[in-house]
């Protein structure tokens, strides 16, 4: 009977109850959507960073990271690449010769990161070839050919077959220079890469740098991202002369983003629910204060405090329990649809997102566990929100309440 009365009570003032329910619905829909949007964006950034930039893990000379001095290359790097590539957990592996230097065209010059790669292996790790939008990707047999980003090409007014001169220090600290011809121009969602990275054949750069064919960096892509930590520790033991770092260590800002996302999202949701709870408390308080006389009568004829509390409690819970699943269902449908078709923000945010390495089309994503977590938080909110109005009802003096007009 208590549940029946509570259920009927919420429909006494349909408009008011519906306003509360719609606000809960919209709050949850918006909250879940923002959650999915941020998760989608971060996951996409992570996948892109791993799939086309840093890979799952990298090996360097322990001193290379200090100031990227080219003399700190990995000894016997070919054997290392072969051994790592033979591991069944490894999907692809690429050795890179790296140096920072000046890039000069006929019209301008700028700084850049010169990367000497094995074109086939690099393509397996970063899909660089598929990003070439003008000209062609490198072949292992190419001599003094270079791939540049579209932004850099625009900056230096480069076209296919344009000539550029790269100047940098070799392993001995001597200034060396090499002339290269642009073979391809690539695009990247990450403007830092598109403006700063230049790819040449490993042999060309290694010769200029005098690294004896050795590489500065080995990038490893694994089949299962969950195994990274374990494999990093195994490689560290296996190759004590190399610094082995996971993507989290290589890109700490990304690691921090992923690690702290859950906490941020909980805080974000608690804020939304806190705002909603004030609305619920306000409405329930109104319903209690409107029914002072009736509540006084109920206490007079023998409704005890537990039942009275229960009645107000269930009224609150019912309202939230109707609204919350509908709000989450609406969120699920929206997120599902957008996870397929994407939310295209290229018209307004393309440049801004690219500057931070994000793609302008976001595919929102929210795992089932988050729907459960949200529902749990909502139920806790409803319980909390019911307490004050219920206590207000319990504090009523039946004699005074009955006399209330």
């Amino acid at each position: 009977m208590l549940l029946v009365i509570a259920w009927k009570n919420i429909w006494r003032n349909k408009v008011r109850s519906l306003i509360v329910m719609v606000s809960v619905m919209m709050g949850l829909w918006a909250g879940a959507f923002i959650l999915a949007y941020v998760f989608g964006m971060i996951n996409q950034r992570l996948e892109d960073a791993i799939g086309s930039e840093i890979s799952h893990l990298q090996l360097h000379h322990p001193e290379f990271d200090i100031d990227y001095d080219p003399q700190f290359y990995l000894d016997d790097s070919y054997s290392l690449i072969e051994e790592i590539g033979a591991n069944p957990m490894v999907e692809a592996v690429s050795g890179r010769v790296l140096v920072y230097g000046m890039v000069a065209s006929a019209s301008s010059s700028t700084g850049g990161k010169l990367i000497g790669v094995n074109p086939d292996k690099e393509n397996h790790v970063t899909q660089l070839g598929s990003n070439v939008v003008e000209g062609e990707y490198l072949l292992p047999t190419d001599k003094n050919k270079i791939i540049v980003g579209k932004k850099l090409a625009d900056k230096l007014k480069l076209k296919i077959r344009s000539k550029i001169v790269l100047t940098f220090q070799d392993v001995n600290g001597d200034i060396v220079a090499g002339a290269f011809r642009v073979k391809g121009i690539f695009r990247s969602y990450n403007s830092t890469i598109e403006e700063g990275n230049l790819y040449v054949n490993h042999a060309d750069l290694s010769t200029l740098l005098k690294t004896n064919g050795q590489v500065h960096e080995i990038a490893v892509l694994m089949y299962n991202g969950e195994m990274v930590k374990e494999y990093v520790s195994s490689l560290t033991q296996q190759y004590p002369g190399a610094l082995v770092e996971s993507w989290k260590e290589l890109s700490p800002e990304l690691g921090l983003m992923i690690d702290s996302l859950d906490q941020y999202m909980v805080i974000f949701f608690v804020i939304i629910l806190l705002a909603l709870s004030f609305g619920i408390v306000n409405t329930m308080l109104m319903t209690v204060l409107e029914r002072v006389k009736e509540i006084g009568m109920l206490m007079a004829i023998g409704m005890n405090k537990i039942r009275l509390f229960g009645m107000i409690f269930w009224e609150t819970i019912f309202m939230v329990l109707i609204a919350a699943p509908l709000g989450l269902l609406l969120a699920y449908v929206t997120i599902y649809w957008l996870s397929i078709y994407g939310l295209d923000l290229s018209a307004i945010y393309q440049e801004g997102y690219a500057a931070y390495g994000f793609k302008p089309i976001i595919y929102p994503k929210l795992e089932a566990i988050y729907y459960y977590r949200i529902m749990t938080l909502v139920i806790i909110t409803a319980i909390m929100a019911s307490i004050y109005p219920a206590i207000t009802a319990l504090r009523l003096d039946p004699v005074k309440a009955i006399r209330k007009i």
């Binding site: 009977m1 009570n9 009736e294 009568m297 206490m299 005890n304 405090k305 039942r307």
Partner: protein, 241 residues
């Protein structure tokens, strides 16, 4: 629990006093009332406005605490009961009828009458049979599925009486039950309560200004300034219409 000794005694008060001390000047609403009401009485508490009728009913009903003195209901000293015990005690021993009916607006006639029995955790069969009996006695059988908003004032007050009787209380306290009713409806309601009093031996105590109620009462207690000014037991009362 302390108990009084008289077997037939339904209500007994001793030196009952209630002083409201909320304003600038304390007001003595009930002044040293000694009262003894036995099973089956049909009693009217009368007196001018502010004479303490409703306060006395509230004290007898355990809705309010006396400043001093004691109330025994069915041999139980009400002052020894905690708030929760008082609520349960009211549920099982006292029926209330209010001036403004005070039905639960979202429930039907049947559900309103059944409500107190649900609070008493009576089983479904017992509830059903008692509701049917009470609706029959109060002439509300054809209004069983109506909500209070669909009933007239007289019909709502009948539902309130049926609800008050549903828990099989020791007595019914009715505060100005006919105040909002027209003459004919008030007469019908009084007829019904008089019949329940005579046939079932139900004890009724009214606070009232209504001469029609006073005419029907077999005992009339007049309060003046919170004290009993007269207590008249009558042999002859007005007959049912």
């Amino acid at each position: 629990m302390e108990t009084s000794s008289h077997e037939n005694c339904v209500i007994h008060t001793e030196d009952l006093t209630k002083i409201y001390d909320e304003g600038a000047v304390p007001v003595k609403a009930v002044d040293n009332v000694h009262l003894h009401i036995e099973r089956g009485e049909f009693t009217a508490l009368v007196g001018p406005s502010g004479s303490g009728k409703t306060t006395l009913l509230n004290l007898i009903g355990g809705l309010d605490k006396p400043t001093s003195g004691k109330v025994w209901v069915h041999q139980v000293d009400m002052s020894t009961l905690s708030k929760n015990e008082l609520i349960d005690f009211r549920l099982n021993n006292i029926g209330f009828v209010f001036q403004a009916y005070n039905l639960i607006p979202v429930l039907t006639t049947t559900e309103n009458v059944e409500f107190v029995m649900l609070l008493q955790k009576k089983d479904k069969e017992e509830r059903k049979s008692r509701v049917n009996q009470l609706l029959k006695e109060t002439g509300l059988e054809d209004k069983a599925d109506k909500r209070p908003s669909e009933l007239s004032g007289g019909q709502q007050q009948r539902v309130a009486v049926a609800r008050a009787l549903a828990s099989k209380p020791q007595f019914v306290l009715a505060d100005e039950p006919t105040a909002n009713l027209d003459s004919k409806t008030a007469e019908n309601l009084l007829d019904m309560m008089a019949r329940l009093n005579q046939e079932e031996g139900m004890t009724f105590i009214f606070s009232t200004h209504d001469q029609r109620v006073i005419d029907r009462a077999r005992r009339v207690i007049t309060l003046v300034d919170g004290a009993i000014a007269s207590d008249e037991v009558r042999e002859e009362v007005a007959m049912a219409t």
